[in-house]
Symmetry: C2
Subunit: 335 residues, 2 copies
């Protein structure tokens, strides 16, 4: 099993209030570059910073890395439109940062990136791949793509209070700017990405194509972003079994919408609970409060840990250790 | 211990007759991209080809990968001026392919690349790093840099018959084109790289700076190319212990020159013999005939194998297995 991480950026994340992936708007473009370093080296070797929210919620990359400490799987990172140099080695598939989806074109020439990602993935020696993503603003572009395809619009958020109305407003403006109506991109996934998507979607659609062509087993780790990508794959005519491995934090409060979308797409939904309610650390509190929720492969590696009989107590203990190393001791008062 | 590989290209390699790194001049720019894939995945996932000479001599990357099968150390690849897309993840340090050293400038803005490589290396969590290189034409740029610095000109070759006269002619033209005399770049290593060097030299000089600043133990794997880089480091004022780990194929026939240069630079030379004379496989025959000789970390990982008590018999057996997988069964007649 190899974890493939697609890291990228979209100018959509600059719209104030949409995302919590980064302490502040300035830090946001650094987040995916830092996430990849944390998973690769266990240290932010070039960016020098661990993404953490103002309330102390750590990036899901910290949880993924904590589990990698315990399981030691190989990782390949894909540059799917990073905008800040990362110290992590990345595969170049010709991506550039995505534009604001309210512009006419969100992603230029997605076909080329999809093809490059497919070629690389198809030839990876492992028979099983787990795919994660890190892109601030990604739940908004996911919503946009689902609507462009005419699918059930499920949408998550890295914020405790999902700014749903604002996201819908952005998406409506985005569809209009690209001169498309909801459902106009059915069976045309590349057109959906080009109009209102992001470069990470192009990279992961390519990985699914690559896995399909070489009969690999592929699991998409993440929430509504990965469901949107699974929808792109179905509209691309890809019929292989697809699993989306996620966390309870994504599913809580919108189980019905998410289950419905997964069912419509013929996607198996796997939810692995790290039982953060059994710890009082600020990291666990913030995830339980609905912050961050998922990302950087977290739901997928939690499932790996469960399959390998690594207890969630061990996972939580490792997360606390990593938190102390990178961010510091948790504050005495965390209410 | 982490293996860091710098892969790059220089237009100098296009001068006919200089290098054997690639089956033919067209294949040469692919070599470093394919080498990195082979070490990372054990398969040429994107380039689709294993570098092998017309006589059947495999790239040293195949030996490095065979040893990695046995030892499982982490690898980080640096894009030090690749010109063909690789499926291997690489760290971007802002390099571009090097120009023909017979032009005025061989490497633009080496300082920036040196700094980026230093930052990344300094923060790598391991306390020991082993550095390898893959750049066709690299022994010629090494000779040029040694002369620009005013050091003993040692020079190896990936060809059985080292085209020494031709190399010296290229270097003399190169120095003249940059308007410098031998020794003119003493204590000015960046000027030497800029005038007559290559982007891999800039990357590895940066790694040495990074290792020096964070008290890491660094070993340079390779032949005269790494000695030239060690010379650049000494002229940069770096006084940490440096070891160059190489193969007997590099040292054979020029032991005196190489030992003298290592002594002058205060560099420990470590030669590890894979005892290819104990096998009749075409790969072993070609190395014994003086082809390829070294590269892609080969001398360094041979030393690792020796230190880990992995027998050379096991190494040779693994090399043969990899040869059969990637290139095919050796011909019945290999005389």
């Amino acid at each position: 099993m190899r974890l493939i991480l697609a890291g990228g950026t979209t100018a959509t994340a600059r719209i104030p209030g949409l995302s919590a992936a980064g302490a502040d708007p300035e830090a946001m473009p650094v987040t995916p570059s830092a996430d990849l370093e944390l998973v690769e080296y266990g240290a932010p070797v070039r960016t020098g910073q661990i993404p953490v929210s103002p309330t102390g919620c750590p990036t899901p990359a910290l949880i993924t890395r904590a589990i990698r400490d315990l399981l030691e799987f190989p990782v390949t990172a894909i540059d799917a439109g990073l905008s800040v140099p990362t110290g992590a080695p990345t595969v170049d598939i010709g991506s550039a940062p995505g534009a604001d989806i309210r512009e006419e074109t969100a992603v230029s020439t997605p076909e080329q990136q999809v093809n490059a990602a497919a070629t690389v993935t198809a030839s990876i020696p492992e028979q099983r791949v787990l795919v994660g993503e890190t892109i601030p603003g990604g739940t908004t572009t996911a919503l946009a793509v689902l609507q462009a395809l005419g699918e059930t619009p499920a949408v998550s958020s890295s914020l405790p209070e999902n700014p749903l109305e604002q996201k819908q407003e952005v998406v409506t403006t985005a569809l209009r700017a690209s001169d498309i109506t909801p459902g106009a991109c059915a069976k045309a996934p590349l057109a959906a990405i080009e109009a209102v998507g992001d470069p990470v979607q192009a990279a992961i659609l390519g990985m699914i194509r690559g896995a399909a062509s070489s009969e690999m087993e592929i699991t998409l780790a993440g929430g509504t972003q990965q469901l949107a990508i699974a929808a792109l794959a179905r509209h691309d005519g890809i019929e292989i079994p697809l699993t989306v491995a996620t966390t309870p934090f994504v599913v809580d409060g919108q189980r019905e919408t998410i289950t419905q979308l997964a069912d419509e797409l013929g996607v198996t939904l796997r939810v692995t609970d790290p039982h953060f309610e059994e710890g009082s650390h600020v990291a666990f509190q913030r995830y339980r409060a609905g912050e961050a929720k998922e990302g950087v492969g977290m739901g997928g590696v939690l499932a790996l840990a469960a399959d390998a009989d690594v207890g969630m107590e061990q996972v939580r203990s490792r997360v606390q250790k990593r938190y102390t190393t990178h961010i510091g001791p948790p504050p005495a008062q965390t209410q």
